[in-house]
């Protein structure tokens, strides 16, 4: 009899067939799991850099827990920030990156505007061509480029190799195609009627670009700026090849070539230099992210 009673009570499992909330909860749990995993994966190296940068060289080589600082010190920071050489690297990097961003924007914005709006013979082919240039790996280009600048030096006597400003000619070959490509995408998403309205209102092409397109496509512009800055700031191969004198080096190359002497690694200062070098892009991201919001075109047209 007792078994009958149990059967009549119905299933004891809490079955929710097709329950959305259940599916969603699981999806969320998995998302959190992978997000946390990924966050740890990408944040451990900077954390280790920070820990190491706060240690003296004695503590770094000591057999203590490497994940903790027992005697925190700022000696690495003081040493680097009071070193003229390090400040020179920083200055070179900043000059190169800022000027490259300006050059890139001056070329990419008008190029993207022309390619996305002025339908001229061959514009579609040119747009694809711009993108294809970006697909060529930069590591294939440095030898021909080096030969080119060496030749220019031989023929004209203008010495560009081993000058930090040679990078101003080289980096745009990496940044302009990509920035043009993303700007074409952003400009293409601006409704055609908007420039037609501007044309009827009496705007020239240049006014349409500066007064309508640039403000409306600002998120795209910021994305392109961030990209161009990051590429120039973090570039390692080209400055390593093109610059050799200590006063012409940029930060990433400078840190590696001056703080590693033979087989002696000055780990504390290397970590500090790397951390300080990572700061400007971080700060720029933090500032520009506020403007980097989609949906700025909302309200232009229906929808």
């Amino acid at each position: 009899m007792s078994t009958m009673t149990v059967d009549k009570a119905g299933p004891t499992r809490n079955v929710k067939y097709g329950s959305m909330s259940r599916d969603r909860a699981w999806a969320l749990r998995w998302s959190y799991f992978f997000l946390v995993l990924f966050a740890i994966f990408s944040l451990v190296p900077p954390f280790y850099m920070l820990i190491t940068s706060l240690k003296g060289s004695a503590e770094i080589s000591a057999a203590t827990n490497p994940w903790w600082v027992f005697h925190p010190t700022l000696e690495n920071y003081v040493a680097l920030l009071s070193s003229n050489q390090f400040l020179r690297f920083f200055f070179n990097s900043a000059m190169v990156s800022i000027i490259v961003v300006i050059i890139t924007m001056l070329i990419s914005i008008p190029a993207a505007f022309a390619l996305s709006r002025m339908k001229f013979w061959g514009s579609a082919t040119l747009a694809t061509g711009v993108f294809l240039t970006y697909l060529i790996p930069d590591s294939l280009l440095f030898i021909p480029l080096f030969k080119m600048f060496a030749l220019i030096g031989d023929v004209t006597g203008i010495q560009l190799i081993n000058r930090w400003y040679v990078l101003l000619f080289i980096y745009p070959t990496l940044t302009v195609p990509f920035c043009t490509w993303i700007m074409i995408g952003y400009f293409a998403s601006i409704p055609k009627e908007l420039d037609e309205a501007a044309i009827i209102d009496g705007a020239s092409w240049l006014q349409t670009l500066t007064r309508i397109f640039i403000p409306v496509a600002l998120p795209g512009l910021i994305a392109a700026t961030i990209f161009a800055f990051t590429v120039s700031w973090a570039q390692f191969l080209y400055p390593l090849v093109f610059t050799t004198s200590a006063d012409q080096l940029v930060l990433p190359v400078g840190i590696v070539t001056t703080l590693i002497k033979g087989d002696v690694f000055n780990w504390g200062q290397i970590m500090t230099g790397a951390l300080l070098g990572a700061a400007p892009p971080l700060i720029i991201y933090a500032f520009l992210m506020d403007y980097y919001i989609a949906g700025l075109t909302a309200g232009a047209t229906k929808g």
């Binding site: 409704p191 009627e193 309205a197 044309i199 009827i200 009496g202 700025l296 232009a300 047209t301 229906k302």
Partner: protein, 366 residues
């Protein structure tokens, strides 16, 4: 203020002719509506007047000057787009004043013009908002305000109400009419909605397949359409077209609709159709409001017949009835109290004083 004229205007895209030789004269202060189904070339025509499309052939003149090669900004026109095309990063006031600022008008004048237009359009308190903070109707008002402040020679409207919901569309239609009554600027308005065309226009231009089918006042088009296309396009529900034939019987001209139904034509109509060949396949064109329930007293020219109703649609103030004549579906409008019911017979009356006779082959109204 200016008149606009188009002479043999053609627009060709590669091999396709979108507009095939249009002649049109628009008088000063006139409100002309270009109407037609999509792909009829009405928008292309408007864009050619605006200067946004090149003209393949012919001449367009505004205020007497040929403007074929004049850029849009020097044509002194203003255009309102279907999707408003407001500048999203500018406030309402900045949107409206953009054109004036580009032309370096004095600040005080810009301000007074914007204020005036905003008051006229009832958007004075929205002047500092961005477009995304506005509703569809408000955005359309701003787009109109942008056109008004320029005080151009010609207003061009490209389906300005298509994105609005039905109720707002009616409201904005009245608004556009009011604005035109105040500013009296020559206006060319494109729409695919024949109701908009009828209600707004001084003159309607019906276009089809790149050509003008007919130009006339709304009443002319409604009562005296020139072609089958115009007859069927203007009016809702659309005009009925029933195959018919003329024949002589008892010394009078009759119109035979089916084997059993043949009506004698009223004298005025009979005189008009006397010369039409008796064997020619013809179409009777008659509007639903001229097919009604029978009246208590016989009237000249109104003929009665028995119809088997397929479907009835009570609309409130009238009931639409659908039945077949010789397998051709026909719509009529009867009084809601006439006793029309789905699937039941009803005695109907056809007002032949308002009939049209069309040549089936050419589609022309005889």
């Amino acid at each position: 203020m200016a008149e606009v004229s188009l002479r043999k205007v053609v627009k060709r895209y590669d091999d396709v002719e979108a507009v095939r030789g249009i002649d049109l004269d628009i008088a000063d202060h006139e409100f002309v509506v270009l109407v037609g189904p999509s792909g009829c070339g009405k928008s292309t025509t408007l864009r050619m007047i605006a200067g946004l499309e090149d003209i393949s052939d012919g001449d367009i003149s505004i205020g007497g000057d040929v403007v074929n090669d004049v850029p849009p900004k020097d044509r002194d026109i203003a255009m309102v787009f279907q999707n408003y095309a407001l500048y999203p990063h500018m406030t309402v006031a900045e949107n409206m004043s953009f054109g004036l600022r580009l032309k370096h008008y004095p600040k005080a004048e810009i301000k007074s013009r914007v204020a005036e237009a905003a008051r006229m359009l009832d958007i004075a308190d929205l002047i500092d908002r961005k477009p995304k903070q506005l509703s569809g109707g408000q955005r359309q008002r701003v787009a109109m305000g942008r056109a008004i402040v320029r005080n151009p020679k010609v207003f061009l409207f490209d389906e300005p109400l298509s994105n609005l919901d039905a109720k707002l569309r009616v409201q904005m239609r009245i608004e556009i009419k009011k604005v035109h009554q105040k500013v009296r600027t020559t206006t060319v308005y494109v729409t695919h909605d024949q109701v908009e065309a009828m209600t707004l226009a001084d003159r309607v231009v019906v276009m089809n397949k790149g050509r003008i089918e007919q130009i006339g006042t709304p009443t002319e088009l409604y009562h005296n359409p020139a072609t089958r296309f115009v007859a069927g396009f203007i009016g809702s529900p659309a005009m009925n077209f029933v195959p018919c034939r003329l024949e002589e019987a008892d010394g009078r001209l009759h119109m035979r609709l089916t084997d059993r139904i043949a009506f004698p034509l009223p004298p005025a109509r009979a005189a008009r159709y006397q010369s039409v060949s008796r064997n020619e396949p013809l179409l009777l064109g008659i509007r639903p409001e001229h097919i009604t329930e029978t009246r208590p007293h016989a009237e000249p020219g109104i003929e009665t017949f028995e119809a088997m109703l397929d479907v009835t649609e009570p609309m409130g103030m009238e009931t639409l009835v659908y039945f077949s004549l010789n397998d051709t579906p026909v719509c009529g409008r009867v009084n809601p109290n006439a006793g029309a019911r789905d699937g039941s017979p009803l005695r109907m009356a056809m007002d032949l004083n308002n009939m049209h006779l069309l040549n089936e082959a050419t589609g022309l109204v005889i």
